[in-house]
Amino acid sequence: MSKIHVTTTVNGEPAEFLCQPGNSLLDALRDDLNLTGSKEGCSSGDCGACSVIVDGRLVCSCLMLAVEAEGKSITTIEGIANGDVLHPLQRKFLEHAALQCGFCTPGFLVAAKALLDHNPDPTETEARYWLAGNLCRCTGYDKIIRAVLDAAAEMRAGAPAGE
């Protein structure tokens, strides 16, 4: 079967790839675009390790077909930092030691960024409920939540007045 040509935008840059209908967006990101930060955990939408932001919406890239990326704008974990300068969430994850094996971390960071993009001042319950779709099997959630709330506080303090 002939492959389908897909033109899309990934982390602000134009990107294109060829795919089969059965390839997921996660397959294309990892295998065709060599963006291996997004992880394949469960492949069924349960664990959130493959989280990406598509046209402003946080989704599981394992449950989206690669061909559906045509014309979309996608942000992956590779697009979170500003060059060599880590995103506040990334810095706070390091400061709070909010990871051990690190497999779930890219998904948590992308999901937390999506939360703070829409809600810069979440309560702890809101942060926990939003991150319920990201599973961590070793660190536990307390450090992760502390890192997210701390990053949110720093980002609010750093934002110019009126914003």
């Binding site: 939408g45 449950l63 077909l65 061909v67 991150l131």
Partner: protein, 352 residues
């Protein structure tokens, strides 16, 4: 996953034509369909991607005060639409109580209506399932069935419908707009899902090739906005399907109930409208005695289909709790932990 053909039609008419091919299914949010395809529970030959069809992603307000929701509106977008959440708060709360942020962002209104049962034997191609393969038998009957149906089930199938969204929709007389090879028609949400009987493989009233294009809620149903709740008991308090859920909506006048709407989730192959319970509430004083009678009426026909007798008593208690919270009034904003039946206790966490 089986090899399939992918089609991206430009119009509803093109979509219906493309879906006339044997083995074709519609793809919307994909959160349920792609998961079932990966597990080989479903093996379609063609996916007709309807996500780019024009005009199906709008929320439109109607002359009667009701609302028409395009089938491609995402669950999260609908729940966070301020006007919608004000008019139909129990529906918004149900939407936000379901799945995860990622899935609510991807899942669509039409897809939610058509999501498949979470019965593990339906999902597992190695198990016998009359819904997946007519005549094969039902491994759920002698298997792990504590979460299965207690109302409307048959010897052939004891699966439940998993949707939260559909429960308040059934209570509030939602209508489903459908287009298909034979033209346009409407069905009541309550009639969209079929009870299993001898043909559990036919889960909905849709004919082959038919496409849900919109969902309507009548303006009259917004009259319950001040006293409407959706409550959901789940095995953990986030990212879990309902063991039992209840949508309760009331119109009150001087402490008396003028009108009542009640539906249950997690108990049957369709969202379960409890009309006898509603009738028992009309004209009586809002209070525990009335709620107790309503709960008895709602579950009067219930019987266990396996190790799930506990769900009947759980459902009765949840009905009483939902009615009591509906009387207390719709919260000013949707709770941070939506649809939790547990009272907020300072210092206690229900979200860990």
């Amino acid at each position: 996953m089986k090899v399939f053909d992918y089609v991206r039609p430009a119009s509803v008419a093109e979509a219906i034509a493309a879906a006339a091919a044997p083995g074709a299914v519609y793809l919307a949010g994909g959160t349920n369909l792609l998961d079932l395809m990966k597990g080989e529970t479903l093996r379609p030959d063609r996916l007709v991607d309807v996500t780019r069809l024009p005009g199906l992603d709008r929320i439109e307000w109607l002359g009667d005060g009701g609302v028409r929701i395009g089938a491609l509106v995402r669950n999260a977008a609908l729940a966070h639409d301020a006007a919608f959440a004000t008019a139909y708060p129990a529906v918004a709360e149900a939407l936000l109580s379901g799945a995860s942020a990622q899935l609510r962002n991807a899942a669509t209104v039409g897809g939610n209506l058509l999501q498949r049962t979470r019965c593990a034997y339906f999902h597992d191609p190695a198990s016998a399932c009359n819904k997946r393969q007519p005549g094969a038998g039902c491994d759920a009957r002698g298997g792990e069935n504590r979460l299965h149906a207690v109302l409307g089930w048959s010897e052939a199938c004891i699966a439940t419908h998993p949707s939260d969204f559909c429960v308040p929709l059934a209570a509030l007389d939602a209508v489903v707009e459908i287009e298909g090879p034979a033209g346009r028609r409407e069905v009541a949400l309550e009639a969209l899902h079929r009870l299993p009987g001898d043909t559990p493989e036919r889960g909905t009233a849709l004919a082959p090739g038919e496409l849900i294009v919109a969902l309507r809620l009548p303006g009259e149903a917004a009259g319950f906005a001040a006293h409407a709740r959706y409550l959901k008991v789940r095995e953990r308090t986030s990212y879990a399907f309902a063991v039992v859920s209840a949508a309760a909506a009331l119109r009150l006048e001087g402490g008396r109930i003028r009108a009542a709407r009640l539906a249950l989730g997690g108990v049957a192959a369709r969202p379960w409208r409890a009309r006898a319970a509603e009738e028992s509430l009309v004209g009586v004083e809002a209070g525990e005695a009335a709620f107790r009678r309503a709960a008895e009426a709602a579950l009067a026909e219930a019987r266990p289909s396996g190790d799930n007798a506990f769900k009947i008593e759980l459902a009765r208690r949840l009905v009483r709790r939902a009615l009591a919270l509906a009387v207390a009034g719709t919260p000013a904003r949707i709770p941070a932990l939506p649809a939790s039946p547990f009272p907020s206790v300072a210092g206690a966490r229900h979200d860990a």
